[in-house]
Structures are given as structure tokens and as C-alpha cells.
Point group: C2
Chain length 313, copies 2
């Protein structure tokens, strides 16, 4: 009897050890942390640039109402921020993050920092707007980046927003080396917010992985339409992407807007991310065709709110 | 013969003395300085708030093209300032002044100072925008007003504008006591620009006259529609004002805009100076009816450029 007990205990310990080893080799995927199977296809349909123009706010709110666009991020320094902050306050369940902003990339319509200009002088041009673009000659001071981004987040909280995540307008915080990415990670940790980072980026930007802690959320894939896609192939691009969607968590980074007078004027110097582009995004992601594809491909929509909640478990 | 000469000299001197005395009693009116008779009816049709929204820029540009609206002023701190600055640069003959701005009076769409926020802290609210309104509790520091207004003018020049005059958004520099008006006058003198001041205001605000120098231009009258005028009486209000126009220089302060999605959203919290108001102004001041009234009433349009030029003579 005693021998039997010892044998059972031995077998039990062996099983635990094997399972533990397996878990180490195959830690829980993000999908599993979210309560889905490892091979499930999970999608965030994420609208960027809220607050930039009224048109973008209005189109995204309308797209949210279809349920097919389910997450977005907001540019705090932009003139229409108060409009979307007000909407967010009255829709506390909606999935709004902050689209941390360091550039003012248009020509006829511009904005500048939330922080005092003299404290973030490396971020502004000679007229006091955020730089239109960063060139090799632009010397961005990471300390000023941190000051400005904290000012943006603090204004958002002060105006009643409770963001679910952080990301970076024009990917400036991801594409410009270790120091700026470290600022983003430090801020995300301080405010206890998940940061939009994608595993697929690690190969090209090794500093991303080294700046993250093991507890940080990393989503698996991202898809965004590029300027090389001609307007008439827009829907095809997204359909192909949906049909080829990989298991795991994918974020579609989209830019809905209405091609009205305001947006046409604000973006008229170039077509990229312009009024037509944004109208096409709105049209596809609110279409019956997109809804049907989600069903046909067995794709489930998830939000950053669910991801943040899974990360805390 | 000698007596005749002496008599002639005497009469000549007498005539000069009488004329000089008459001139002293009746100094040249602004109309006369402009080369018109004292009893001529001269009108500036002046659009306010350019730069605030695209809709206001677009409507004013369209109204300019009719020739019936012939002057405007621009809000430098506002997001659409670059659009109208670009237009002004390519239309150097157009009559653009600066609409010196110290408030951000809307709710869903807002802007802040051109100067560094920490240098003009009395001008901004807890979120870094210009105050929505000034209450008796708002302590506006005149030194900070001066710093901010100089920053606005400097940005305008730096971005290629050559303003013809200065005025004050929401009349803040005229309605709030001697100190702020003195700032406006000092800046106008420094930049050698005429300031929109109206003789009819002197009775209610005696500090205006005492802060001005004798060389300063003062126009005679101003007309602007008030919230008490119901929409259906809009055209009647202006027709009556035109039929009763007094001799001298009058400025009609108007607010053209297109009642499109942008302007409706930007002004939706109240009707005053809202989208409908601005569309009605656009409609009347670009109408054939207005053109006919100008002819019938023998009213001549003049600009601030002509006034500034007369002031230099």
C-alpha cells in the first residue's frame, strides 16, 4: 500500500514537471490569455487619428455604431479633441486609447504641443507647430518627448477620458530608435496602459523587444493599407488580408473619415491618408461584405479593453 | 499803387487766417482724408474670424470674389490659420487684418495661445486652452496679453502675411478697461497698423479716446447684427441699416460661413454666431439685393488698406 502511494506520488510529480516544462516551452499565447484557443483568429478593427478633424470623429462614431469598427485612438493636441473626449465620457464602454502625437503633418491645418512650447523646443518648428516631418537634421530630445506625452495623457484624464491603451501617431515612437521607444514603454508602465506593439516588428527593430518587460502585452500581427494600393483595389486588399488572417491577435489600423469639405481641405496637398483614402476605409469597414467575411472566416472582434483586462490577470 | 498792394496783402492774410481757423474748427474728416466729400457714405464690409474653421475661410474667400465683402481679419492661434495665410500670400492685394485673439469660446473645438503657455498662464484654462469666457474672477495679466499678441503678429509676419489693420476678437481689448486697450494701442503703434476703433464707442468707454494719440485713425460708425434679430428678419436688419447709413466711414462687422458639417459641429452648443447665423450673413452680403442697395444708396466700399494709406499722408 505504501509502495503504491509512493509510486502515485512519483507519477504525480512527474506529470506536474512535464506540464510545467511544456508550459515553459509554450507559454500561454495572448489568444489563450484572452480565453480563446491558440489557433483562434482575433481582430481589433482600430480607427486612428480621432480628434484631428470633425470628419474623422463623426465617421468613426458612425462606424462604431455598426459594431464593425470597435477600437480607436485619440490625438490630444488636436483642435477637435474636446468633441471626442465629450463623446468618450458619455460612452464609457467604448474602446478609446490615446494616439500619442509628436507631428503636425498637414499643410493648411496645423496644431502644436500640449506642453509649454519653450519646454519642448526640439518638437516644434519656427512657427510653434509640431514639425511637419522629422528629417535627419531634426534633433528630437527624448526628455521633451516624455514631458509632452505626459502632458497629453494628463490633459486626457483631466478632461474625463479613461484610455484603454496607447499608440503612436505615424509610428514615431516605434520607428526612431531605442530612446524614444523606451520613453513610450516607461509612460505605458507608469499609467498602467498597454502599448500597441506587434511581434512582427521585432525582426526589423530589435530594440523593441529588449525595451519591453516580460509582462508587457505584444500583439501578434498588424495590417494597414499602403499608398501602393490603388483606390479600385481597396476592398480587395482588405478581403485578401481577412482571408489570409493568421491565428492570434491582429490589429487592422484603419483611418475612417468622411470626404467632406473639411477633410478635403485639410488633406488637399497629398492623397495619402487623405479624404478619399479615409472615405474608402469608412465604406469598407462599415459594409455588409466586411461583416460577412468576419463570419465566413470565423474571425472574432476583440478590444484593447479586453486585452488590458487579460494582462492584469 | 502801394496802397492797393498793401490792401491786397491784408485781404490775402485775412483769407488765410479765416481758412486756418475754419480748418481748426473743422479738421479734415476721415472721409476727406480718403479723398471723398465730408458727407459721402463709405463702407467697409468686414468678415471676422478667419482661420477659425475651414468653413469660415471658404465662405469669406467666396464672398471676396463677389467684391461685396472686401475686408477681413484673421485669428492667428486657430488651426486653419495656415490655410488663410497661404491664400493671403497669393492674394497680396486682399485686405486682411489680424483678429487679435484671447479666448476660445466654443466647447467641442478649441485652441490656445501662440506664446508659451507658462508665460501666459493668466490667459489659459486648466487644460491649456484660452479661457472659454472671462468672468469677474478671471485675472487677465496685461503683460501676458501683450506678450501673446506680439507672438500672434510675429507668427503672422513669419508666415508671410502683411496685415492692413488690427482688431479684437469678441472686442476683448476694447471692453475691458484702459490697461488692455493701452496694450492694443501700443502694439498698433509699434507695428504701424491702424486699429479698429469707432467714434461711437467713446461715450460709453471714455478710456478709449484718452489712450489714443491725435494721429490715430478712428472710424465713425459700426453696425453688427445682434442675437435679438430673428433669422427671418436678418436681411431686413441689414437693409434698414444700409438705408439709414450715416455719412462718414462705417464698418459692417459680419461673420460669413457655410452651414456645413464642420461649422455646425463646431458651433452646436449655441445658435449665437453659429452655423445658421454665418450662412445668413454669407447669403445677404453676396446677394444681388445688397449690391443694388449699395448703388441705390450711393454707398462706396473702402478698405483698411486705403485707410492706412490715408493715415500715412
Amino acid at each position: 500500500m505504501k509502495q503504491k502511494r509512493i509510486a502515485f506520488l512519483f507519477l504525480f510529480c512527474l506529470a506536474v514537471a512535464i506540464l510545467a516544462a511544456a508550459a515553459q516551452e509554450n507559454p500561454k499565447s495572448l489568444a489563450e490569455k484572452l480565453g480563446f484557443s491558440r489557433d483562434s483568429k482575433l481582430l481589433i478593427v482600430h480607427a486612428d487619428d480621432l480628434g484631428e478633424t470633425h470628419s474623422v470623429n463623426a465617421a468613426t462614431i458612425k462606424a462604431f455604431e455598426t459594431g464593425l469598427v470597435n477600437s480607436a485612438s485619440i490625438m490630444v493636441p488636436c483642435p477637435w479633441f474636446p468633441e471626442i473626449a465629450d463623446y468618450a465620457k458619455s460612452h464609457p464602454g467604448a474602446d478609446f486609447g490615446l494616439h500619442l502625437t509628436l507631428t503636425s503633418e498637414r499643410v493648411y491645418y496645423r496644431w502644436g504641443p500640449v506642453a509649454s512650447k519653450d519646454k519642448v523646443s526640439s518638437l516644434v518648428d519656427e512657427n510653434g507647430y509640431f514639425h511637419h516631418d522629422w528629417t535627419p537634421a531634426t534633433r528630437i530630445n527624448p526628455k521633451e518627448v516624455e514631458l509632452e506625452l505626459r502632458a497629453q495623457i494628463d490633459r486626457a484624464y483631466a478632461m474625463g477620458l479613461r484610455p484603454t491603451h496607447l499608440d503612436s501617431h505615424q509610428y514615431r515612437l516605434f520607428d526612431n530608435g531605442m530612446e524614444l521607444f523606451e520613453v513610450a514603454v516607461r509612460i505605458a508602465h507608469d499609467y498602467k496602459l498597454p502599448l500597441f506593439v506587434v511581434r512582427d516588428w521585432f525582426a526589423g527593430r530589435p530594440y523593441l523587444q529588449s525595451a519591453l518587460s516580460p509582462a508587457d502585452i505584444v500583439i501578434d500581427h498588424t495590417v494597414t493599407v499602403e499608398p501602393s494600393v490603388p483606390p479600385e483595389k481597396w476592398a480587395d486588399f482588405y478581403k485578401t488580408a481577412l482571408k489570409n488572417l493568421q491565428p492570434g491577435v491582429t490589429e487592422f489600423v484603419i483611418h475612417p473619415g468622411f470626404a467632406d469639405d473639411e477633410l478635403k481641405a485639410a488633406t488637399r496637398e497629398r492623397d495619402t491618408w487623405g479624404a478619399g483614402w479615409r472615405q474608402r476605409d469608412f465604406d469598407f469597414f462599415t459594409s455588409q461584405e466586411f461583416r460577412q467575411l468576419l463570419t465566413d472566416q470565423n474571425i472574432r472582434l476583440i478590444t484593447w479593453r479586453e486585452i488590458a483586462s487579460a494582462a492584469r490577470r
